[in-house]
Point group: C2
Chain length 367, copies 2
Amino acid sequence: MTRLSVSRRLRRTPFSEGVEAAGVTAYTVYNHMLLPTVFRSLEEDYRHLKSAVQVWDVACERQVELRGPDAGRLMQIITPRDLRAMMPGQCCYIPVVDETGGMLNDPVAVKLAEDRWWISLADSDLLYWIKALANGYRLEVLVDEPDVSPLAVQGPHADDLVAAVFGDQVRDIRRFRFRQIDFRGRSLAVARTGYSKQGGFEIYVEGGDLGMPLWSALMEAGAPWDVRAGCPNTIERIEGGLLSYGNDMTDDNTPHECGLGRFCNTVTAIGCIGRDALLRVEKEGPVKQIRAISIGGDRVPPCDRFWPLRAGDAVVGRVSSAIWSPDAGTTVAIGMVRMTHWAEGTELTVETHDGPRPALVREAFWA
Amino acid sequence: MTRLSVSRRLRRTPFSEGVEAAGVTAYTVYNHMLLPTVFRSLEEDYRHLKSAVQVWDVACERQVELRGPDAGRLMQIITPRDLRAMMPGQCCYIPVVDETGGMLNDPVAVKLAEDRWWISLADSDLLYWIKALANGYRLEVLVDEPDVSPLAVQGPHADDLVAAVFGDQVRDIRRFRFRQIDFRGRSLAVARTGYSKQGGFEIYVEGGDLGMPLWSALMEAGAPWDVRAGCPNTIERIEGGLLSYGNDMTDDNTPHECGLGRFCNTVTAIGCIGRDALLRVEKEGPVKQIRAISIGGDRVPPCDRFWPLRAGDAVVGRVSSAIWSPDAGTTVAIGMVRMTHWAEGTELTVETHDGPRPALVREAFWA
């Protein structure tokens, strides 16, 4: 077990009080902020997420806000996804790349108005990248981190719970759309998004003072569906093939290597800073790519470093996330594999730091 | 006690194996990397640091490398410290500011050659800021994170230990200077810098494969001086008034508020992106500033959030770091106080999350 020393630098959230009262047992650090990782146990949390409903403190999905006449132009500079057709009220998962096409983050963009956007971040200080671009390109846009903290409601009963607090209109919100809905006299964006395959919502809590009132309202209203405090669950996310920036991809990787080519419209994304590099990648295709991997043998230790994937003596890739899945009945893993060995059914060896295990390349993730 | 969930995203270092073998008992996360915080106990580590010598895994001080004809120009863009007189072989503590003069990081700049620099980072992704500026200003410079991991040797016997491994020439290295010295046939920068008041060196280990060989060489050579694995010590750093980015200062603060005005040559730092804003600050002076604060009464809980400083009913500042110091015989703290109440001897109340305590503004830190 590893102990974490707390300090102001690892920021608490507007929901921390609720998280502690609910008996959080472990954290990670994400965007310089505490992110709960376990309440009862990974497997018990997993079962509950798949059968009931959970409220998640994901305030660590910090926002970058862009406001002003050049906000839309700056959005297109940072991503190869073509955003021209995006309307206010829409959310959009966007790869963000540097000038070489390397991934800098994989946030969700939230379009509030033609001249106002939020970017809901994965774990890197993308604020610095965007602020400097605004400055270097002399754009007319304000860029900052607003006091906005997402609270997620995930699980099969997410609709019931969010409807109980925000009204039945939330049932009509489509995937990757949001509506502004009143809570205690303040308007909050309620989006049908989230970092699980169970479905649900993310509520963008504008103003930290609303954090605990909303947390408590959800926990109280959720009794009929056995609501609990939860958090992104490592087992469920790997089963579902949800990538994690910093784990499964870094700035070494292009979106295409990460299997995110479908979110790139490189030809039409005119203005994107990585466009030249990615046009080249698109033409030639990536030489390695993310794959679902199942690992046999004994349970593996926590995957806290890249584990090489071997075919005989040759290293042909690496595993970046892995954990035992009770439902899959195997160790589920996310790997990056060279094209020579990425075909479904390829048998490899994964070198965990606890010894080798047999590994199998799968066609798809489990959920 | 707070548990930390490990994952690839919280990167291990070239020295992690040595740190674990030495019995690390707690970590923090810094630049997406593990930073040890405690070995035996904070107080035992503190006593030892002040009397013997320690080897610290500070690989989390990640480097940004700038190479190319515009490297020097880009360096001056990011800081209000005038770097014109800086020579290769010098290190320089530099406030890094945005266009409003807000602190983005407070790294040590290492000048390797006229066209090649390292920036040894505090906890923020400054790489993103610098890469985007290079792009936006169309500068001829390569910007990336090299495979360089600092290892610190700190304590009263640091000279003896580093001389035992690198030779007596290290004794002649002056403060904030470095020399390239061979270790196992490779040239490493050995700098007289470090995040303690006890003196010592930081060795820039270029190539992760050299990490454990150097760690082991230092631990073996250090037996006569009771060398131990150590880490930046919270008690010693607060006593000494060493600020911590993200704890004691954020991008809300100017260098002047942080008491770093002496590192700003705003008039002559032509090209600095925050120059206009800081010229204004320099003229008017900051309205709040970092102060040493002693806190009376019972021991305080870990300072994991800002604690308001009050004068009667008015909030006049906040404490951002605080811990009991055995040598000072009081709780030592770092605060930011409004000018109306920052005079030495001012009596205030600090609202810890465990209740109020008397607080006293001091003239200076303890060491």
